[in-house]
Symmetry: C3
C-alpha cells in the first residue's frame, strides 16, 4: 500500500481543525513529551489513569492510547476499563507494548490486552511485536534486539490473530494489515538516542486514527509524519536534545510541502 502525501496532509489539517481529544494512559517517562507532540500536531491530549475516572474520560475522547511502559496493577485495571469503554463507543484504541519480551509481566499484560480488545493499531519495535507471538525473543529492556524487517512475517501472524493493524517501527517502518504492507523509510538513527520517540509515534497514531477511519492509513500517515519530522529535526541538530526540541517545533510547523519533499516509501 502506498501512502500519498496529499492524504497525510489532509489528516494533518483535520487534526488541526478538529483538535481531537486523545486520552492517554501511558508511562511516566514520556507523559510530558508525548503530550507536547500531540499539542504540536494540533490534537488535545489528556493523561488520566485513575480507575475512578478513566471510563468517563474515555467516554468523551476521540481516541485512546494505551502504553505499558511503566506498569503496575492499578494502571492495568485502568487500561482495561478505559479500553472497554472505548470499545463500546467504537473510538480507535492504539496500543504500545513497551518492553514486551523483557519481562513476563509485560509480555503477559500485552498479550492479554491485545486478545481482549483487538486494538485498531498495535505499534512497537521488532522485539516487542515478536514477543506478542513467540517465546523466542528477548527484548533488551525497552530496546529492540531485532531489525524491523525481521518482524514482518510475525507481524502478519499477529494481525491475523488479533485483527489489529500492526505497525513495526525501525529503520524502515512496516505497517501490516492482511496482505497489505506499507513501508515508510523516513527517520534518522539519532532518534534512537531520544527517549520516548517510539511512544510519541504511538501517540501520533492515536491523533491520526481519530480523524482517519482507515486504521492502516492512519498508522502509515502517523509514521510518515513522525519520520519526516525526525529527519528534518536531525538535520543540523547538535545532538539528541536539540533533535527532540526541533522535532516538536517541526511538527507544529509541518507543511504540505515538507511532506511532499521528504516522504520516502517503498518503490
Amino acid at each position: 500500500m502506498k501512502v500519498s502525501s496529499k492524504e497525510i496532509w489532509e489528516s494533518v489539517e483535520a487534526i488541526r481543525a478538529q483538535a481531537p481529544l486523545v486520552h492517554n494512559i501511558t508511562n511516566y517517562v514520556v507523559m510530558n513529551t508525548t503530550a507536547n507532540a500531540l499539542l504540536a500536531i494540533g490534537a488535545s491530549p489528556v493523561m488520566a489513569h485513575a480507575c475512578e475516572e478513566v471510563e468517563e474520560m474515555a467516554g468523551i475522547a476521540n481516541a485512546l492510547v494505551i502504553n505499558i511502559g511503566t506498569l503496575s496493577e492499578h494502571w492495568i485495571s485502568a487500561m482495561f476499563k478505559a479500553a472497554e469503554r472505548a470499545g463500546e463507543r467504537k473510538i480507535p484504541v492504539v496500543f504500545d507494548p513497551v518492553g514486551a519480551g523483557a519481562t513476563k509481566y509485560r509480555t503477559d499484560t500485552a498479550r492479554k490486552f491485545v486478545e481482549s480488545f483487538s486494538p485498531a493499531i498495535i505499534r512497537g519495535n521488532a522485539s516487542e511485536v515478536m514477543a506478542l507471538v513467540t517465546e523466542d525473543i528477548r527484548t533488551k529492556g525497552v530496546d529492540s534486539s531485532a531489525a524491523s524487517s525481521d518482524a514482518v512475517e510475525i507481524g502478519r501472524s499477529l494481525n491475523a490473530a488479533s485483527g489489529s493493524v500492526v505497525c513495526i517501527s525501525g529503520e524502515t517502518d512496516y505497517i501490516v494489515d492482511g496482505d497489505a504492507v506499507a513501508e515508510i523509510r523516513n527517520g534518522h538513527p539519532m532518534m534512537q538516542r531520544v527517549t520516548g520517540l517510539g511512544c510519541t509515534a504511538t501517540a501520533l497514531c492515536g491523533a491520526f486514527a481519530a480523524v482517519e477511519k482507515n486504521a492502516m492509513a492512519a498508522a502509515a500517515q502517523a509514521m510518515a509524519v513522525m519520520g519526516i519530522a525526525g529527519e528534518m529535526a536531525a538535520w543540523m541538530a547538535e545532538g539528541p536534545a536539540s533533535l527532540q526540541s526541533r522535532f516538536i517545533d517541526i511538527l507544529y510547523n509541518m507543511t504540505e510541502s515538507n511532506i511532499e519533499r521528504h516522504l520516502k516509501e517503498e518503490d
Copy 2:
C-alpha cells in the same frame, strides 16, 4: 486593582534572595517542567507525595502547591494531609483544579478540597473555575471550553463562597478577590501548545505567595511574570519546544526592565 512593575520586581528579588521552599504535590506530566520553572525564578522546589512524609515536608515548606492533574486515591489523601498541615502553619496553599469539569472524580475532588481548605489562591482555566461552581460546563479534557472573560462572574461567586483569590487564566488573566479584579494581558497564543504552562503558572503563584503576604497581589504578580516570560519567549521562537526552553531561560534572567517594558494591564 493595578499591579506595579516595581512590586512585581520586589517579589522576584525576594524569591531570589530567600529561595522559598515550595512543596508541590502535582501531576506526573509537569513535575519536571514546573520544578525547572521554580528553580529558574529562584525558588527551591520539592516534589513529595507519600502520605508518610507530606506532613513533615509541608512542615518545613514556605508554600504548598496542590495540582490534581493526574489523580488517584493515595495522592488525594496526601493532598489533604499536606494541606491540613499547611493550614496549621498558615503557609499559603495554591490549588490547581486541572481537568475539573472533565470527570466527576476531578470535579468532586476539587470542590471538596476547596471547601475543606479555602486555599489562598485557586488558579485554573475558565472551564475549570466554572466547574467548581456550576454543573453547566464540560471541560474538554484539560483544555478550556470557554473564554476567561466568561468566567469572571462565576469566579466572583467562587471567591465569595471559598474566600480564595480566584485566578482565571486565558487570553486575559483575571484575578478576582471581593470587588477587586486585576487583569493581566500578557502572554502569547502559542503557550497553549506547550503542555503544563498552566500548571507552571500555579507553581509560580506558590513562589510569589511565599514572599508576598497579599494573596491577590502574589497571584497577579505571578501571572504577570508568567505572561511576560511567555511573550518574550514566543518572540522568535520557532515552535512550542523552543518557546518552552526560552521561557525557562527568560525566567532565570528576568530583569526589572523586562517587566517595566512588557507589563500589560487593563486601563
Copy 3:
C-alpha cells in the same frame, strides 16, 4: 586518587560499545531527563518499578540505579526486591538518597537500604550524605544545606560502615573509599538551577559502574564527565533550559580531547 582522562575516555568508549542495560527505579521528576542522559552517553536505560517485574528486569540488567526522590510504599518494596536480585547477580547497585534529612521517611528508607545492600556507590549532596550518619542535619527539601567539603569526614564514616564508595557532589565533588579521596572540580553553578542533574550524576555512575569494575574509579569518571559536560554546556548557555539541552548534546558528542582539555582535579 587521580583519575586520568585516558581512563575516563576508555570507559566512555566501553559504554558506547557495550550499551549496558541500566535498570532505574527512580523518581517521577527526572525519569525523562535521566533516561535521555543515559541514552546520550551510550547506555540503554530502562525504567521499571512494578514488584511483579523488577527482579526479572534486574536479572538482565548490567547495573541497577535506585533513587528515592519520590517515594511510596510499593516503590520501596520494588527497590528492595530489585537490589536483592542485583546482589545475587553481583551487578553494581548505585544509590541516591534524594532528600534524606528532609523527612524521617526518606532518612529511614535510605539508611535501611544502605544497611541492607551496601551499594557499590552512594551519591548524594552534602546534606543527604550527612543525614545517613548523623541526626544533626536538616536537608532543605532536596537541596543541600551544607558544602560538599563539610561532608568528607562523615562520608568516610559512611564508607567505613557501609563499604560503599561515597560520592558527595557539590562545587567540588569528593569520592571517598577507605583512605583514598578523589576530588573533581568541574561543573558550573548554573547546574543547580536545573532539576535532576544530581539524579543524572547518579544514573551516569550506573553506566560507568557497568563497564568499570573499580567502583571508586567508576564514580570519579562519571562525576568528571558530568562536570565537564555541565561546564561546557554552561559556556554560552542563556539559562538553565539551554544548559540542560546542551548538556545532553555534549554528552552525546563527548570526545577524548574534551575530557583532556577540561578535566580539573585536586593537585
